[in-house]
């Protein structure tokens, strides 16, 4: 069964995410806003017994999720369309392809992700789609340094995530294949601009000659953006690619994290059955995160983020 997790608009709520600001790249924004959205949906259900000091059991997930067309929406989702005319906004999507998911699913996944967001925002196209390939991260310290070395330093883009076992860096052929899908979306007018994340100079040099629609944006994660290597800045300028900053981690939703969120443990919401649970209607099986999309809609001439949120999709297999 497919599981569709959503955060709703995380700008409007009391977000625990900014309570603990972190300048390290992290996925706490996703996980804590999922927690917050689940919690607020659970709390809408009135407790069945008056509180008398005893801990009330968690409400059954059936009461705050909905099953529809073979997918379980966690929580039950109502879209919140943008309030101003479409042209007032810049809509950016960042799609995280996750490790160990066959690349041939990406065509379908990309369309699915875009459709979910378009429906959420009540829009018919997006301005910028940034894709993040699994296992890649950018390290300014290792990449072509900002010393005056020739840009022949070894390609050192590699995964620094703690979950390094979840996949090696994506090879360039798979990236190109995926890109063909994105080029189609671009041709259809569904997406105005395309973007990539964590590409260093050497990867860009391999990538650009093989594609038709060039990325307009390369998003890089640098703790101190003042140390972006000069060769990359020059190369990007030359290629007309805008270098943007971000603070996401590449493996934004590891399998273990998802299990914990959905599980029956202390931090979970009781959708997946625990190992020793024998009763109840909790779901059983292996949960496999497929992709995550982050969307933001910014009112252009006011710089106000009106909507921001995540959808995460996973497969539950027996």
């Amino acid at each position: 069964m497919k599981l569709i997790l959503s955060t709703s608009n995380i700008m409007s709520g009391g977000l625990s995410v900014i309570r603990r600001p972190t300048f390290e790249k992290s996925n706490t924004e996703l996980t804590s806003s999922l927690h917050a959205n689940f919690a607020s949906h659970q709390s809408i259900i009135p407790p069945s017994t008056p509180a008398n000091g005893a801990s009330t059991p968690k409400p059954s997930y059936r009461s705050w999720t909905v099953q529809q067309d073979g997918a379980l929406w966690i929580p039950t989702h109502t879209s919140s369309p943008l309030t101003e005319p479409r042209e007032s906004y810049d809509i950016t999507l960042k799609l995280f392809y996750l490790p160990n998911i066959p690349a041939d699913r990406r065509c379908v996944q990309t369309r699915e992700a875009i459709q979910l967001v378009l429906k959420e925002l009540g829009a018919s196209s997006i301005d910028l789609l940034i894709v993040s390939f699994p296992g890649m991260s950018f390290d300014a310290d290792d990449d072509d340094s900002d010393l005056d070395d020739p840009p022949s330093a070894p390609d050192s883009e590699h995964d620094h995530d703690l979950h390094g076992t979840e996949g090696a860096p994506e090879d360039i052929d798979t990236i190109i294949t995926t890109w063909r899908t994105l080029e189609k979306l671009h041709a259809e007018g569904l997406v105005s601009k395309l973007g990539i994340a964590e590409f260093g100079v050497s990867r860009l040099e391999k990538f650009l000659p093989q594609i038709d629609v060039k990325p307009s944006v390369n998003q890089i994660n640098v703790r101190d953006c003042c140390v972006v290597p000069k060769p990359l800045i020059l190369y990007a300028k030359q290629q007309n690619i805008e270098l943007l900053t971000h603070n996401d981690c590449t493996n934004v939703l590891p399998r273990g994290t998802l299990r914990e969120i959905l599980g029956s443990g202390e931090k979970g919401v009781g959708i997946l059955a625990g190992e020793n649970d024998s009763s109840g209607d909790e779901l059983r099986g292996d949960v496999e995160p497929q992709w995550v999309v982050k969307y933001t809609a910014v009112v252009k001439d006011r710089g106000v983020v009106e909507s921001k949120g995540y959808f995460a999709v996973a497969e539950l297999r027996d």
Binding site: G14, V222, T296, V304
Partner: protein, 665 residues
Amino acid sequence: MGLLALGTPLEWPEAKKVASQVRAWGIEQLLSIWENAKGKERDALLWGDEIEYLVVCYDENNRKVRLSLRQADILAALASDEKLLAEGGGVPDVQRGPVKETDMTAPVFHPEFGRFMLEATPGKPWGIGFKDLLSVEPDMKWRRTIAKDHMAKEEYPITLTTFPHLGLPDCIVPSYLVSGPKLRSQFVPDEIANPHIRFPTLAANIRWRRGRKVELNVPVFKDEKTVWPFQDPTVNYDLHQWPEDDDVRNGAAKENHIYMDAMAFGMGSCCLQITFQAKNIEEGRKMYDQLSPLGPILLALTAATPIYKGFLADTDVRWNQISRAVDDRTPEELGEKPLKHDRWRLPKSRYASNSTYISQDARLRPEYLDPDLIVDQDIKKRLAEGGMDDLLATHFAHLFIRDPIVVFAEDLETLDLSKADHFENLQSTNWQHMRFKPPPPGSDMGWRVEFRPMEIQITDFENAAFSIFIVLITRAILSYNLNFYIPIARVSENMETAHIRDAVSSQKFWFRKDPFSPHSSSRGGNGTGTSTPAETSRPATPVGPVEDEYEQMTINEVINGQHQGGESNFPGLIPLVESYLNSMNVDVETRCELARYLDLIRKRADGTYWTAAKWIRHFVQTHEMYKGDSVVGDDICFDLVKAAERITKEEGRDGFAGEMLGKRR
């Protein structure tokens, strides 16, 4: 300084007679503006900053620095500079060039109250484009360069809040005699003020209404060798030219205080003010309320005023001195005499911290408001009849408890509803730390909010940093729908706290613990879309006592966040801004530049870098000519102003003033 209409100004006894008429007409003009503009929608964010300079004049041979009174000459030179005009700049009151659609428009210059002052603003407003943000600092530097280019060789536009020797003998050039008919000051001549008739009339009528001279007593800093108790040695008790000369004999100069007696000591201070255009009236009202509690924090953080009239003061900021310099309250209004002729006791000067909130926001609890707020009930009634809601009517009926100070006879002939002169007469002489500005009639401008508490900084790097920080804070407030409400009385209390020497490191300020609204999944959008006030209301959530919502925090905690304790930690204004920036598409170069600005503010707040006030104190106290007696002598003053010029030019890159600016590239 508001509108510069020409005409015949009424002397106070005449102006007083027509005060009610001016108020009534001002209210009709306000209603007309409000009726026309209340439905204005979807205005872009436009914003502007104002930089104010002191024009100093060096006398190198005598190691003496004075204030130059050549404002008019400098403005005339600017207004007739063909190149500047061609680039769109100039002096709007006289002549300026055309605003450029695409290119940079050259800056524009304005007169200020002090004849030794100059104000400069960008040639056209800034937007929110990140490239615009990066243009601010170069533009500020451009302004100073242009200003300097139109000055004499020995003059320089300096951004100290106050001139350290203002009010001492031989502090201005050219020299004039003190004790003139308008100011009647024993320290500064009437010529200290801009000669435009509005300004001397303002000063004279404030004094006249008040019944004596304005009275500024700043506590003196007690150093090791300060004579104690301190009697301001510069006070002359033997003047007999004006009735007001009796003031000091009646105890106007307080023991252990530096005493000053003229509007110029306050209105001659330089500040850094930022004005924002809001999307609509609702957003404007929300920004007004949410920025209000930040005022005292930013005042303390920008502290730069440790010297008055040649003495080290025991306070760090200018605010209360300006407040007293334009305090027109009568003895009855001040509570010194029983109410007989006047209408009410007034707890605050017309220059003071905000006294009320104005947003139709469900989060605005009645407990935050001042139950004793003084309002003119007749005016409030008229505004309500005109359809204005209670909160906004209360705000304006509060501003309109004051008398108009400068009234031109010509303006009283007919009421012109297509103008705003009578409304502005009161609006622009209510100097609160925020100002809510209706659109000028006949313009396509939107509703605006002005943030007024910040002190000017010595370098344009710092001025740009604070301006941009405030802009980014407003974007975070609107994006996250942040809630900074605390009782307005606590904001006023914080304003006092901000005066304390080194408040930035030594004091705590009332601040709201949780800036987030309760999570509500049923709500669509965050209220940026339409102007329907109803949309901000949501199902009533149970609320606890107001006192539990806020606590005392250090500036460091407010700016950088609370790091101990549990979930209820205040996240900090800088992390909120960082979080906002992380949600935006920002290019690396811009982010790097913004990081420099945010880093300055972060480190000012945590004490790593010093405020200008602390740096100036340290400069004085370690100067070889300083005798440990709180006196800032000629040599120190000269070297200090020279040092400020050097800091302005080098910004710490030469290793000087690193305590204030850090290691600059």
